[in-house]
């Protein structure tokens, strides 16, 4: 597992130019390109609570402010709080001692990590486990709501005015109500209702402006004499956990509802297909769609490296593993960093053209569809806008070691899970170049390469070498009906290896 969490020894260049180890890469089968977290489109798939593992629909999550209704976090150390039972003993009533009242269970919240509990801050114990724990309200809410409503009205009337101005400019059309002389206000008068203009057109009366005061909060004199108990004063993190109150002392900390978590689905920006989509169930760690590069691209691992000396050729043994169900042929080629640079330039040019095309396309289509008599709820269902692809960048890696490019290629048999347990049938009918392939077993091959760190490298400098791995990729998705056979084509991946540091002479 160390190669997953440890330093990035073997890294692959994503199409966007970033270097990542293979577990962090995706492979879009539709574009046959490597993708990484940086160049795919992330989307929120489902929302759940990490503690009670309950799925929460996004509408409900929005109402609950993205927090779980029943799980709480400790306001002091931000760990999860647990509900504890505090049983009150049977109340022995001296008058009717024969009938002891039943046990009454009450609950309180407690943190197992820092021993904070809800009794510390004076929250009364609750009768039920999920308890209606008291919530605190913003004391300024009323005033702020009033202000916000006024601002909304101001903007609304401004917008209305703008629209009215536009209507006046047209002028060609004569309103039917004007011709008949029956305007809405006339009708109202006839019926006998008071004449009120539209609620939004009413001139909003501005809220009472806040009044500045001469006096400000004075420094309490007790500060100069009373000793400070650090345990009673909250830290800045504790304050920021509750932005509304930002309590300065510990006795004002209230339990915090636990923040919900999400599952993400990832989408290729070029073809809009998903490269990763999790299952809906929060307990499941499986995926509906998982196009991880790990399942499609041969994996490279370093087996041994001879001590690296500047200018001296040494032997490097790599292990190649074929993760697919199809036989593949791998050729090792020279890595061309210029190639990526030209690719970056090409993309820049094509982007400009694309943007121009997009603009010319959007303008005619956007208007008529919206102005029709569609109900407004349908407007939110407008189709997905095409994504903007992330601009590729140059590969930022200094290769300081030459790799002798072998003349021949080698074949990797398909992965066979049963072969792992079968020692007897390890025979291959593959003719290998003995100079290149050192040993092979099922879908793995050990390859010998000659590498030469550049002569000018100092002792202790890290040696990085790179090569382009060309492998035959078999695309199994039958995109077209007439073409049923799986398509095979060559796919190039640039692989960079951190071989270690240069050592001194023998």
């Amino acid at each position: 597992m160390s190669y997953i969490t440890g330093p990035e020894v073997v890294s692959y260049a994503c199409t966007c130019g970033l270097l990542k180890p293979i577990p962090q890469l995706y492979f879009c089968r539709h574009c046959s390109q490597l993708r990484c977290g940086f160049c795919v489109c992330h989307e929120v798939d489902s929302i759940f609570c990490g503690k009670c593992s309950e799925n929460i629909p996004s509408a409900e999550a929005r109402v609950k402010k993205n927090r779980c209704a029943s799980c709480f976090n400790c306001p002091s150390c931000h760990q999860e709080l647990s509900t504890r039972i505090a049983t009150k003993g049977p109340v022995v009533n001296p008058e009717d001692a024969k009938q002891p009242s039943p046990h009454k269970k009450t609950y309180y919240l407690s943190c197992y990590f820092c021993r904070w509990n809800s009794r510390d801050v004076g929250i009364p114990d609750q009768g039920s486990a999920t308890g209606a724990w008291p919530e605190r309200e913003n004391v300024h809410a009323h005033r702020l709501q009033e202000i916000m409503d006024t601002y909304k009205q101001v903007m609304m009337s401004q917008k209305q005015q703008k629209e009215n101005d536009k209507k006046k400019q047209r002028g060609k059309f004569v309103s039917f109500t004007d011709r008949t002389g029956v305007t809405s206000s006339a009708i109202r008068k006839r019926i006998g209702l008071p004449d009120i203009p539209h609620a939004m057109l009413k001139k909003p009366n501005p809220p009472e402006p806040a009044v500045a005061k001469l006096e400000v909060e004075e420094l309490p004199d007790s500060l100069f004499t009373d000793p400070v108990n650090l345990l009673e004063i909250t830290t800045i993190e504790q304050r920021h956990l509750q932005p509304e109150t930002q309590a300065a002392t510990v006795d004002m900390l209230f339990p915090i509802h636990k923040q919900l978590s999400i599952k993400r689905s990832l989408r290729c920006r070029r073809c809009e297909h998903n490269v990763s989509k999790p299952e809906y169930n929060p307990n499941s760690v499986k995926f509906k769609i998982q196009l991880f590069a790990y399942y499609h691209i041969p994996e490279v691992r370093i087996v041994t490296v001879e001590p690296l000396r500047a200018g001296k050729t040494c032997e490097l043994i790599l292990k190649f593993t074929n993760p697919t169900q199809h036989e593949t042929t791998i050729a090792i080629k020279y890595v061309d960093l210029e190639q990526q640079a030209t690719y970056v330039e090409e993309q820049k040019l094509s982007d400009v053209i694309e943007v121009l095309e997009q603009l010319s396309l959007q303008q005619p289509t956007s208007l008529p569809s919206l102005s029709g008599s569609q109900p407004s709820s349908l407007l939110s269902l407008t189709p997905r806008q095409p994504s903007i692809t992330v601009k590729p960048r140059k590969i930022n890696e200094e290769v300081n070691c030459d790799v002798a490019i072998p003349d021949s290629s080698f074949i990797l048999p398909p992965r066979d899970d049963a072969a792992e347990y079968d020692d007897s049938t390890d025979t291959h009918n593959i003719e290998d170049d003995p100079k290149l392939v050192k040993w092979r077993k099922s879908n793995k091959a050990f390859i010998k390469l000659q590498v030469t760190p550049m002569a000018h490298l100092e002792v202790g400098k890290e040696v990085i070498c790179g090569f382009t791995m060309q492998h035959i990729y078999t695309n199994v998705i039958a995109t077209t009906i007439e073409n049923k056979l799986p398509q095979k084509y060559e796919h190039n991946v640039r692989v960079f290896l951190r071989l270690g540091n240069v050592v001194g002479q023998e």
Partner: protein, 376 residues
């Protein structure tokens, strides 16, 4: 997942106020940010925490912001950023590189539909419902003073000095290493914690007289077994750096008075009657009282006598000061203003930049449009 999306017309819109030290994040039409988090990300290459402001190159900043916005949307907001508007509250003095990179990240990487950029000093007044005030923002990196008159920030009168949380931290560090010999390189988090929990702004009278009884010392636990002694003198002098005049005779109080001098004479009175202090540093105990004292004593100086001011009146925000401008952004974002004035993706793709008051090209366009900033 679109099927779980409700069909209601009201969309959640993120309001973001990215400060140098802390970022305030929440949604429009709410009265408090959901989270106040540090403006920093974990660097994937070195696995160290890096501040957003510590960028070395535009590409570096781009990558930092990509990671940061990713955390904002997928860890806290829990919505997909694509095709949604976003409200950004920023200082009028925000570096062009930062705002352009932010726009690039939001439009191209996260594909938001539009960005509404709001000047922090102006929108902070929204929660007070006043349109003329002297807004003093004392944050982490700097203190910025902007007079706002009738809903328009007076740009020629702005004042800024590197006085804020960072200056206090540096001052506190030197004070502590003087008091505790052998103590070097205290991490900033510890300094911040000492500042927040032990220090306060003292009275002006106490700074002059030599024979005062200092407040009690504090034993601050450090690195498990060790203790740091935060002496009473350190506790009350840590914030003095904000009020000491520098070589140019500038400090927090002179900034406000200098800004007043640059404003039209008829506006000065109403500005002094409406001083609004925002920013996290102003929440320190005793900060406002001391600032008032300093202002009144500075008025006796020759250069400020012509102002002919007798008093200052201070506003009390209906919120905590550290998110006052965020709250303004939340109120603005809840109105139609968002649809009317936001910079859309089409506009950005065509113009390739975010409109700014400093850019003459945009100023011409703005005149026809009646001004993006200060439409209320």
């Amino acid at each position: 997942m679109p099927i779980y999306e409700p069909l209601s017309s009201e969309k959640l819109t993120v309001v973001l106020d990215i400060g140098t030290a802390f970022t305030k994040f929440g949604f429009t039409s709410e009265f408090a940010p959901r989270y106040i988090i540090r403006s920093e990300v974990r660097c994937k290459r070195t696995n160290k925490i890096r501040k957003l402001s510590s960028y070395e190159s535009p590409e570096d900043l781009h990558d930092l912001l990509v990671d940061f916005i990713h955390a904002i949307y997928f860890k806290f907001a829990l919505i997909s950023p694509k095709d949604r508007p976003i409200v950004i509250v920023e200082s009028l003095l925000c570096p062009t590189l930062f705002r352009e990179t932010l726009a690039k990240v939001l439009f191209l990487q996260y594909e938001v539909s539009s960005i509404l950029v709001l000047p922090s000093h102006l929108v902070a007044l929204a929660s007070l419902a006043v349109d003329t005030a002297m807004v003093v923002d004392v944050g982490y990196k700097e203190a910025v003073v902007f007079p706002v008159c009738f809903g328009l920030p007076i740009i020629q009168a702005w004042q800024a000095l590197p006085l804020g949380g960072e200056a206090v931290h540096n001052h506190l560090k030197s004070l502590l290493s003087n008091a505790n010999p052998g103590l070097q390189n205290l991490p900033e988090q510890i300094l911040e914690d000492i500042k927040v929990r032990c220090c306060f702004v003292t009275k002006k009278s106490r700074t002059k007289s030599a024979d005062i009884v200092p407040p009690p010392d504090v034993k601050y636990p450090y690195k498990g077994a060790q203790t740091l002694t935060v002496t009473g003198k350190v506790r009350e002098t840590a914030f003095e750096v904000l009020y000491e005049e520098d070589n140019d005779h500038l400090c927090l109080s002179t900034m406000i008075l200098d800004a007043l001098l640059k404003v039209d004479i008829n506006l000065r009175h109403s500005l002094t009657q409406n001083v609004f202090l925002i920013g996290g540093t102003t929440m320190t105990i005793g900060f406002k009282a001391r600032l008032k004292e300093e202002l009144l004593s500075q008025l006796k100086n020759e250069q400020y006598k012509m102002l002919n001011i007798k008093e200052f009146k201070f506003h009390v925000a209906p919120c905590k000061e550290n998110y006052a401008s965020w709250l303004g952004g939340s109120i603005y974002g809840a109105t139609e203003f968002l649809n009317l004035k936001a910079v859309t993706k089409d506009f950005y793709l065509r113009e390739k930049h975010l409109p700014d008051w400093i850019n003459l090209k945009d100023v011409v366009g703005l005149k026809q449009d009646n001004g993006i900033r200060g439409a209320f």
